[in-house]
C-alpha cells in the first residue's frame, strides 16, 4: 500500500470531517461546499450501483433471450413521461405497480410480525413473574391509547371515564418506552462520532485541527470587525 496515498486520504477525510462539523457552529460556506460534494458523490455512487443492479437483473437476461424482461424495462421508462406535460399521467401506471406490490407485502409482513408475533410473545410469557403482569397491563393500556373514536368529549358515560383513565396509563407506558429507547441509542451515536473524532485526532489529520481553529478564530475576529 502506498503510504503517500494513505496519508493524503487521511488528510482529505480529516478536512471533510471538519467541514461537516463546522455546521454545528452555524451553516457556512465550508459546510455548503462539503454538502454539495457529498450529495454529488453519494448520488453518483447510487446511480452507478443501481445501473449495475438493473443491468444484471434485467438487461443481461433480456439479451440472453428472456424477452419477458422487456416489460419492467418499458414500465420503468414510462416513468420518465412524467416530465412530458401531455403524457405525464402515464407515470401512474408504474407507480401503481410499485404501490400494489408494496402494500401487499406491507399487509402480510405487518400482520405476522407486528400483530401475531406480539400476541404469541405475550401469551407465552412466564406469568409466574409479576413483571409480566405489568407488561400485560402496559400492552393493553398502550393499545387502547390509540383508540380514536370511543367516548367522545360530550359523553360522560361509565366506559368513557374508564377509557380516558386507561389511556392516560397507556401514555405513561409510552413515555417510559420513549425514554428507554432514547437512553439506549445514546451509546451507538457516541460510537459513530467517536470514529470520526478519533481519526481526526490521529496524525496526519490532527495537524489540520489547529489550522481549522486558526481559520475559525480569524473568521470570528473578521466578523466582529465587520459588525462594529
Amino acid at each position: 500500500m502506498n503510504i503517500d496515498a494513505t496519508m493524503v486520504g487521511a488528510l482529505i477525510a480529516g478536512a471533510a470531517t471538519i467541514a461537516i462539523y463546522s455546521y454545528l457552529y452555524e451553516e457556512n460556506a465550508v459546510y455548503r461546499l462539503a454538502e454539495s460534494l457529498l450529495i454529488g458523490l453519494a448520488t453518483g455512487n447510487v446511480v452507478a450501483i443501481t445501473w449495475d443492479a438493473v443491468r444484471r437483473a434485467a438487461f443481461v437476461p433480456l439479451v440472453g433471450g428472456q424477452v419477458i424482461w422487456i416489460i419492467p424495462i418499458v414500465l420503468g421508462m414510462i416513468m420518465y413521461l412524467y416530465f412530458l406535460k401531455q403524457y405525464s399521467y402515464l407515470y401512474r401506471i408504474p407507480l401503481a405497480f410499485l404501490v400494489g406490490v408494496g402494500t401487499g407485502l406491507t399487509i402480510r409482513g405487518s400482520v405476522s410480525a407486528n400483530l401475531i408475533d406480539q400476541l404469541v410473545g405475550t401469551i407465552n410469557a412466564d406469568f409466574s413473574n409479576p413483571s409480566n403482569w405489568l407488561m400485560l397491563l402496559g400492552i393493553v393500556a398502550s393499545t387502547l391509547y390509540f383508540v380514536f373514536t370511543f367516548g367522545g368529549q360530550g359523553k360522560t358515560g361509565y366506559y368513557s371515564q374508564f377509557h380516558s383513565r386507561f389511556s392516560t396509563l397507556g401514555r405513561w407506558f409510552l413515555m417510559a418506552a420513549f425514554g428507554a429507547t432514547f437512553g439506549n441509542v445514546v451509546q451507538g451515536r457516541i460510537s459513530s462520532a467517536w470514529g470520526r473524532v478519533g481519526s481526526l485526532l490521529t496524525p496526519p489529520a490532527i495537524y489540520e485541527v489547529p489550522i481549522a481553529i486558526a481559520i475559525f478564530v480569524i473568521y470570528l475576529i473578521y466578523r466582529k470587525r465587520k459588525h462594529t
Binding site: Q187, S191, S192, W194, G195, V197, G198
Partner: protein, 264 residues
C-alpha cells in the same frame, strides 16, 4: 433565557476527544457474551472450518471495523481454515479487503487455509442458497479464481461443513439464524452495533448463538482478550465519559430549572 446548545457540542467534542488523546484506561469487564465468541473460536479443533462474514454498512465502521479486525486476528492465529463472504451491502467486500491488506494472512496460505468469496447481493435469498449448496451461488472467488482451483473449497459443499459461523454485521443477522442456524444447527456468533445488542441477547439466552459482541464495548473487550489493544479500548473511555457527562448535564439542567421556578 435560551441556552446556547453549542456549548454542549464543545463539551461532547472534548469528552470524546480527550480520552482519545489521553486514554484513562477505565477497567473494561469482559461480558460473558464476548467471552462466548472468543472461546468458540479458541476451542475450535485443529482442521475445523470457520465462516467469517465481515458484512456491515460504511456508517457502522467505527464500531464494526475494530471488532472485525480483532476477530480476524484471532482467527488467523488458530490452526483452522477460514471462508469469508459477504451478503449485506456493496460496502462489505471493500472492508474485508482492507482488513486483509492491513493484516495479511498470517501463516495461512490463500486458497488452502483461507478464501474470500466476495459479495452476493440480495441477503436472504443467496444466504439460503449458499447454505444449501455453496456452488449454486459461488463459481469464482473475489479475485476471479474459479473455486475448483481452491483446495479449501473442495472441503466446503454446504453450510453443514462449517464448524462455526461468525458474522460481523450492523443489523441484518436474522437471515443467518433463519437460513443457516435453524436448518443446519451450526454454532453461530455475531458482532453487532450497540443498538442491536439487547435483542441479540434473546438469541444468546435461548442458545441459538454462542457469542455476541456489543458494539464498541464488545470490540474493546475483544482486543483485551486477544492481547492486542487497538483503537476500541480508547473508545470505551470516550463512551463512559460522554454518557456520564450527558447524565450530569441533564441533572444540572433540571436543578437549574427548579431553582428558577422556585424564585418565580
Amino acid at each position: 433565557m435560551k441556552f446556547d446548545s453549542r456549548w454542549i457540542y464543545v463539551a461532547v467534542f472534548l469528552t470524546i476527544g480527550i480520552p482519545i488523546l489521553a486514554p484513562i484506561g477505565l477497567p473494561v469487564l469482559i461480558t460473558p457474551t464476548t467471552r462466548g465468541m472468543f472461546d468458540a473460536i479458541q476451542n475450535l479443533p485443529s482442521g475445523s472450518i470457520m465462516y467469517l462474514g465481515i458484512d456491515f454498512l460504511a456508517v457502522s465502521q467505527p464500531e464494526l471495523l475494530p471488532m472485525s479486525t480483532a476477530v480476524y486476528k484471532q482467527a488467523i492465529s488458530r490452526p483452522i481454515s477460514i471462508v469469508m463472504a459477504c451478503f449485506s451491502t456493496t460496502d462489505c467486500p471493500l472492508f474485508t479487503q482492507r482488513i486483509i491488506q492491513q493484516i495479511g494472512y498470517g501463516s495461512k496460505k490463500y486458497g488452502e487455509d483461507i478464501v474470500f468469496l466476495g459479495y452476493f447481493p440480495g441477503l436472504e435469498t443467496p444466504i439460503a442458497a449458499f447454505a444449501k449448496d455453496v456452488r449454486s451461488v459461488v463459481s469464482v472467488d473475489a479475485f476471479g479464481t474459479p473455486i475448483s482451483q481452491l483446495a479449501l473449497m473442495n472441503r466446503v459443499k454446504s453450510a453443514a461443513d462449517f464448524n462455526l459461523w461468525v458474522v460481523m454485521t450492523s443489523g441484518d443477522y436474522v437471515p443467518y439464524l433463519r437460513q443457516v442456524q435453524s436448518p443446519y444447527h451450526i454454532k453461530m456468533a455475531f458482532g453487532t452495533s450497540s443498538p442491536e445488542y439487547p435483542t441479540g441477547l434473546v438469541y444468546y439466552q435461548s442458545g441459538q448463538i454462542v457469542g455476541l459482541l456489543n458494539g464498541l464495548r464488545g470490540a474493546a473487550e475483544y482486543e483485551l482478550l486477544i492481547h492486542s489493544p487497538g483503537s476500541a479500548a480508547g473508545g470505551m473511555d470516550a463512551q463512559s465519559v460522554t454518557q456520564l457527562f450527558i447524565i450530569v448535564a441533564v441533572i444540572g439542567a433540571n436543578a437549574l430549572y427548579f431553582s428558577r421556578r422556585k424564585k418565580k
